[in-house]
Amino acid sequence: MRTWTDLESFEHFIDDGGIVEAGDDMPEPYRQEVFRFIEFHANSEMMGGLTERDWIPKAPGLRLKQIFLAKTQDEIGHAHLLYMVAADMGVKTRTEMLEDLFAGRSRFHNVFHYQAVTWGDQIAIAYLVDAAALASQRAVFAQCSYGPYKRILKRIIAEEGFHMRHGEEMLLRMAEGSEVQREMFQQALNRWWGPAVQLFGPNSSPDDPLLKWKIKSELNENLRHAYVQRYVPLLHSYGFTIPDPELRQEDGKWIIGDIDWEPLKATMRNGGPDSRRRIENAAGNWADTAWVRDALALATAGAA
């Protein structure tokens, strides 16, 4: 176990590329911030997995059902790993985190507060939203100072990269499909472009502790800018229109219009368009499976 005499010496350790391990006597503010970040990530994987699950019966064709089954297992598995690492930090138990999530007391990614109306939405999520989430996860992984989180992020990123390839494949089918399919995707793009660019969050504050302690390695606005440079030309090349009347090019770079942050703030209060239904749905699953947890607890007690 390593200890630091004060926050300053701890920050020197982080600046020098030091990796904090679970048994280290880390400063309390660091523990709290890192815990909150991992809990948010875990909650988002959980709520994302439940969304993917809803589309297994609706996915057109066996191959796509297989892909959605696998994606659901991936997301729930990622949540499981993240909750283990978060619970180990000693701030909340796993059960407390789940109960807070299902009672609407926790936060999760803005994109899981909207309703997926058509199959086109599911493709927009796989192609656009997963790509945005992956870009921000990669930026966390790049310098991540908390060892146990960095190790699971490596596997999570590999699997999310694999999801993105599925997203590209599904998008290509829509883009090369009939007018009805193309229109379905355009409508979905109109709904999801905003949430996708907001996912990176408002412009970073220069004294963001997550940047200082190397949980984040990049400013939110830089990640968003890089994402826009990549996805605007791709979507244009398929003949789709980005729903942003102020989108323009300056010195060869794509610049998006000013973002209205009210929708993002609403989702962080669990007041997004579909927040309530999603949280109630997840809470219902939690209540319905209470008997499994009870039986497991009894079995464990009996074995001891």
Partner: protein, 161 residues
């Protein structure tokens, strides 16, 4: 990599070298050869010169990566050797973790914190080397992995099964 004989007089050994360039979509950098997916690799004469025929076995049936791996093998072999390539997924033998090469195991442990179970069923932590590793869940993020926890260094470990 030995490519000297391809494509005009291609050999199976050269083909294996080409297959080492194909990585598993869920483990970037780990080749399908090291994961033990390659069962047969032949170069046979075809109407327009040599052709590659590759027989692969899946880690688990229903693995969502199969179509992607097949595409990756066919396009990589053709790009690197100029030979046409046909991949077939074989129903037998059944894959198990003993098919991994030592190099594949080392890569999974050091880069992905993924280990194989020891012969006696125990687990060794890929982070700190402790044997104090306990199973947590039969189901992990993929069909081919379960979840364990190292009580010593307190890291989440995944087990290839």
């Amino acid at each position: 990599m030995t490519l000297s004989s391809a494509p005009s007089t291609g050999h199976a050994t050269d083909l294996i070298e080409l297959l080492r360039q194909v990585f598993d979509p869920e483990y970037p950098g780990v080749s399908i050869v090291d994961l033990g997916l390659v069962q047969t690799a032949r170069v046979q004469p075809g109407p327009d010169g040599p052709e590659a025929q590759v027989g692969l076995i899946p880690t688990f049936s229903g693995c969502p990566a199969l179509a992607m791996i097949k595409d990756d093998v066919e396009s990589t072999v053709t790009r690197l050797s100029g030979m046409p390539c046909v991949v077939t997924w074989l129903p037998t033998p059944v894959w198990d973790s003993s098919r991994l090469t030592a190099h594949g195991r080392a890569q999974l442990a050091s880069e992905f914190t993924v280990v194989l179970r020891n012969r006696d069923g125990s687990l060794r932590c890929p982070v700190c080397g402790s044997n104090d590793v306990a199973d947590q869940s039969m189901a992990g993020p993929t069909r081919c992995r379960s979840i364990a926890w190292c009580d010593d260094c307190r890291n989440a470990v995944e087990v290839l099964r």
